[in-house]
Amino acid sequence: MSETAPLMPRRREVHPVPYDPDYKTSVVRSPKQALLSLESTLIEETGPVFGHDLLGPLDNNLIYNFTQGAAPAVGERIRVHGRVLDETGRAVPNTLVEVWQANAGGRYRHVKDTYFAPLDPNFGGCGRTITDENGYYEFMTIRPGAYPWPNRANDWRPMHIHFSIFGSGFGQRLISQMYFQGDPLIDLCPIVNTIKDRGQIDRLVAPLDMQNSRGMDYIAYKFDIVLRGRRQTMFENKPEGM
């Protein structure tokens, strides 16, 4: 537990709508009643802390972590990097970032994925890292493939990497997806389009970052993440009875 300042209210209008008939599964999984909005309390303002000792040396290298370094995964080698900030612009240091993704052919290592693209024997599809003191993170992986999914008759997911981020309070918890600049499937995807503000969709599209790429080795994409901020004022933040 690091801080207990109140969290800034979540701006729901930047997020996806819960109910979207074009994303069929959301139809019966979206609450119909209004959320109960209240100022955050201690349980939202505190959260689990994970130390850097949690991490193994290959945790943030999806090319090699499934084989523990024995053999590389197939695919276009990429480096994904960026910073985790909060709404006040401050870096979020020492926070856990987890990622998961399909392999280069668009197949997940999961019993429920029946797409006939082959599994890669050297690719598991998960990774994790912890931001440094400046909120910076990076990992190595292969570019995931696009793939079809059962929704409407011919829906395809654009290339994407799933992100899970903790922050310093449980109320900052966020899961999202990173897309790749220039992918024509982004505009067609019903999951992407659960976000109704085009400008907000753009914030999930990582730009190609040639300056941070390495010739004959990997190409880079930059993906910054913003978590809810905390309100700072000398007029409060004095939890009583503590």
Binding site: K32, T46, L54, C126, I201, R203
Partner: protein
Amino acid sequence: MTQPLDILTETPSQTAGPYVHIGCIPTFAGVEGVYPEDLGLSPISDGARGEVITIRGSVYDGTGWALRDAMMESWQPDAAGLFPGQDGADPKVSGFCRFAADKDSGEFTLRTVKPGPVPLRHGGLQAPHIALWIVARGINIGLSTRIYFEDEDNSGDMLLNRIEQRPRADTLIARKTGEGEYRFDIRLQGEGETVFLDM
């Protein structure tokens, strides 16, 4: 024109999707060997102070079908109401747990210690509660709710008292089903819809 506010905007959420288990609990998903063990297997370790309890339940969709692919996280204080990092907090309580609906039955199980009451910022106590966060395919932004307990005094709880339709408050209260055993079902939509929070 005015000065800019210099406030950034939170990154938009996207659904955790059907393969969230690969990223968050890979061993459970069958992706073995990447990590020594899955994160958040238990919120307590042996010797944690207080009453060890087991909470079971399911997450139901609007048709009454129990989700087989939901993943949940819980966060709570120790039996004295202290969070990890606070002075005097029980070192055997990490407070954080990750668990998933069973892929065949949809049932989930959370084994933990019953939390103590937690103070409000400006005085007063909240009834004992556990924060719960639910993600799954078809849930576009994670759903937050709380687990309270039938056998605690919930009458003065700030949050429960803010629920206008009083019967809906019951959706946040775990039912005692035996000694140290509770039932907490979550209904995403429709009759008996759980109260979800924006805090």
